[in-house]
Point group: C2
Chain length 456, copies 2
């Protein structure tokens, strides 16, 4: 690893922290209209710091929503190009009363920075900015070509960036994308996430009678929309969580034996997950699959919410006319979202109960993704990470979806390195979100080290 | 029938209508705090008119809620005593924009009185008051002893009257109760309702994880409270609506062949019910039972409402921690509410899905009721009704529950005559509630005629 970068980081520790604190103090909550000026300030701050780091062509790009910030440095001919991505917007901080220190006044406690956005994603994308500054400072140039694209709508769906990417393929052309918006699998364990699940999100609406009916006068003969949607949804899965929609597993590719073996070597405790994270009577799911297999490499069906009929205090005896459920399917790589949508629609049509008409509205759909761990950029990233932390890098997947990774894959044809320095208990989107201070500095060095190695 | 009463009604038509209009104009909406003074005004109006009719011992009885109005006339020694019951409170009128004429400005159109409370129950209990006045006017006395009890909380659960009845058994002692708060089976068809279903109303709460979880990170391994309650509730009934709770049909007594035969002779069109009342794709329920059997003499299970997880606009990918459903069972005569509650609790315990804890809170329970059509008072009522309308009286049941009828049965040991003059399309609780004007006058005469015949 680069001693020079290490020394530079060490000698600028306070300033690196002060700048991050300054960024965190801007309450850039993208979902709240009253914070529009703050979001704009965070964009301006980001642009200023990209310029100060040594990048060129710095732009604040207006959108229908919050602006994008772009910058580049393209003076390494013959070297690869890295597209750094991050987001400067944050989740709302409520419930406020659960915060130990105010969400937008970062505080150092127990070696952690506590604040909204500390790890998601201000602290992490700022590692990129400071890594670039460090490389300029010690080498006078960058070892690779770099493009930076930071958005302000990640927490509200990333609409503007997903419009921008397909219209700016040449501008964004690169060999690999680098994203620091994930976590280490465990403290001290260098981790690259190489698989993400896709998502098909839909709303199912059930219509029974044309209006709510009196359950005394009609109960026994009139269809009930709430019970109808219950009957329908109950048919989607068996008691072990296996999805019963015909064909849904057809395109599922099981992880290779080596990948499964590597997961088995990860430190994982089902008991700890149940106790510390889930807090239920027991875990559930396909009994012939490990928990990591279930959440990383198996499709799932969830009902996220359901509403219908009378739900106030007390008793009201209606036969509800309508009911609605929010339903999603997580997809694994190689599953086709369109095929899943078609299979689900056919299933709903086949299984709608008597007297109840059920319709499906698809709100969004995106495929799962698997990055080839033997891709040169991934191999370099894994090596750089391993050198920095003194242990072999582990390859994991995530059960979640990061749509921008799909956009980079589909629109730009490039893989993404998910090099996150968060920790599993950082409390993203929750009160007392934190980022381990040591990981902030380590992240700056690791990103710089990756860029150096990738340039060689 | 009594010519004298008929002549009296005919010669007072306008005043009888004016007084009812005056009563209807008082917006005695019992559920809305801003109408408390109006409810009190309606009670005072009722008391005044009971006194004016010739009754004695008129009282406005304060309660924890809205007052009860009581009056009596007990100077017919050796004659039976009739307890007349009704309610002077009404449902809220909203949605206001669907009313053709304002809800509290009664309007005569097409031979109907359009107004909130026209048929439920101001127009109907006022028939009792005016029948009593007519009898005093033409005979100088009543043919039977009469007690009148009118409440102001029927539309909000009748809490005060159900406290009052058990504490005032002597005061309310009677041979039969007379209630006009139901409808004719069809226009022109004298109808006595002799069966009511009971009701067990409960809330089922499902608890999965201790907090909402990210469906990407935990989907496939963590229990989902919404899906858990769906799985549980789906097991309660088969596709034809048969309840699958063990033992639930044990105490169900099928109607006697003669009663079933009499139902088959009622004018009933399944197609018209589906088209005009239910408005769904089809009716549902036990295929080996007629529609009237299903709603009058079979227990049912309904989910009145369900709530859990994210139900706003758009997409949110949570695994919900909790879900709640409002569930009721309609019971038929001879079923024991306590036994049903116990069976349902055992069923919930046996069928709660893995990782989800489901609890049952019973909000209310009351038994079904069957009045013996050969009871002397019922026979007299049927004969009086038949004479007035020129057709034999039909005996029907209702799938609904009228708790006060159960109170009179249990606390006072008396049957209730459900002699209602409404029509099936009167729109109770809905905009443009109506009461056929001719039925108002007919009701006054019919009630008077019944009291005359019952006194003979």
């Amino acid at each position: 690893m680069s001693k020079a970068v290490s020394i530079w980081v060490d000698s600028h520790r306070q300033r690196l922290l002060d700048e991050l604190f300054e960024l965190i103090r801007i309450p850039s909550v993208s979902t709240l209209p009253e914070h529009v000026p703050d979001v704009a300030r965070a964009a301006a701050f980001t642009a200023d710091k990209l310029r100060a780091a040594g990048l060129e062509n710095v732009e604040i790009i207006p959108t229908d929503g919050h602006p994008l910030v772009y910058a580049d440095w393209l003076h390494a001919p013959g070297k690869p190009t890295v597209l750094c991505y991050g987001h400067y917007d944050v989740q709302p901080p409520d419930p406020l009363d659960l915060w130990v220190s105010p969400p937008f006044e970062p505080e150092l406690r127990n070696g952690n920075i506590y604040a909204r956005g500390a790890v998601d994603d201000k602290g992490q994308f700022y590692m990129h900015v400071k890594a670039i500054e460090a490389l300029f400072a010690v080498h006078g140039k960058l070892p690779v070509n770099v493009k930076v694209l930071i958005e302000g709508e990640e927490e509200i769906g990333g609409k503007s960036i997903s419009k921008f990417v397909p219209l700016n393929k040449a501008k964004l052309a690169a060999d690999v994308a680098l994203v620091s918006d994930t976590a280490l699998y465990a403290e001290g364990l260098p981790t690259l996430c190489i698989g993400l699940r896709g998502l098909v999100y839909m709303e199912i609406v059930a219509q029974g009678p044309s209006r709510d009916l009196h359950s005394g006068l009609y109960g026994g003969a009139a269809p009930n929309a709430v019970y109808g949607i219950i009957e329908l949804l109950s048919k989607f899965k068996d008691a072990d969580g296996r999805i019963l929609v015909p064909g849904i597993y057809d395109d599922v590719v099981d992880p290779a034996p080596e990948e499964l073996a590597s997961w088995q070597s990860l430190p994982f405790s089902e008991a700890a997950m149940l106790r510390d994270e889930v807090g239920a009577a027991s875990l559930t799911g396909e009994p012939d699959r490990s928990v990591l297999e279930r959440v990383w490499s198996r499709p799932t069906m969830e009902v996220h919410g359901i509403a219908g009929g009378f739900t106030g205090a007390g008793a009201k005896t209606v036969i509800p006319a309508t009911a609605t459920a929010k339903v999603s399917f997580r997809l694994v790589p190689n599953q086709k979202p369109e095929a899943v949508v078609a299979a689900v629609k056919a299933f709903v049509e086949a299984h709608s109960p008597k007297g109840v008409v059920c319709t499906v509205n698809v709100l969004s759909h995106g495929p799962g993704l698997l990055v080839n761990p033997n891709h040169p950029a991934i191999e370099v990233a894994a090596a750089a990470f391993a050198e920095m932390m003194g242990r072999p890098t582990v390859f994991t997947r995530s059960g979640g979806s990061i749509p921008i990774v799909g956009e980079f894959h589909e629109q730009l044809g490039i893989p993404t390195i998910l090099m996150g320095l968060g920790l599993p208990d950082d409390g993203l989107h929750s009160p007392n979100e934190k980022f381990k201070l040591a990981n902030y500095y380590l992240g700056i060095e690791t990103v710089a080290h990756f860029l150096e190695m990738y340039g060689d």
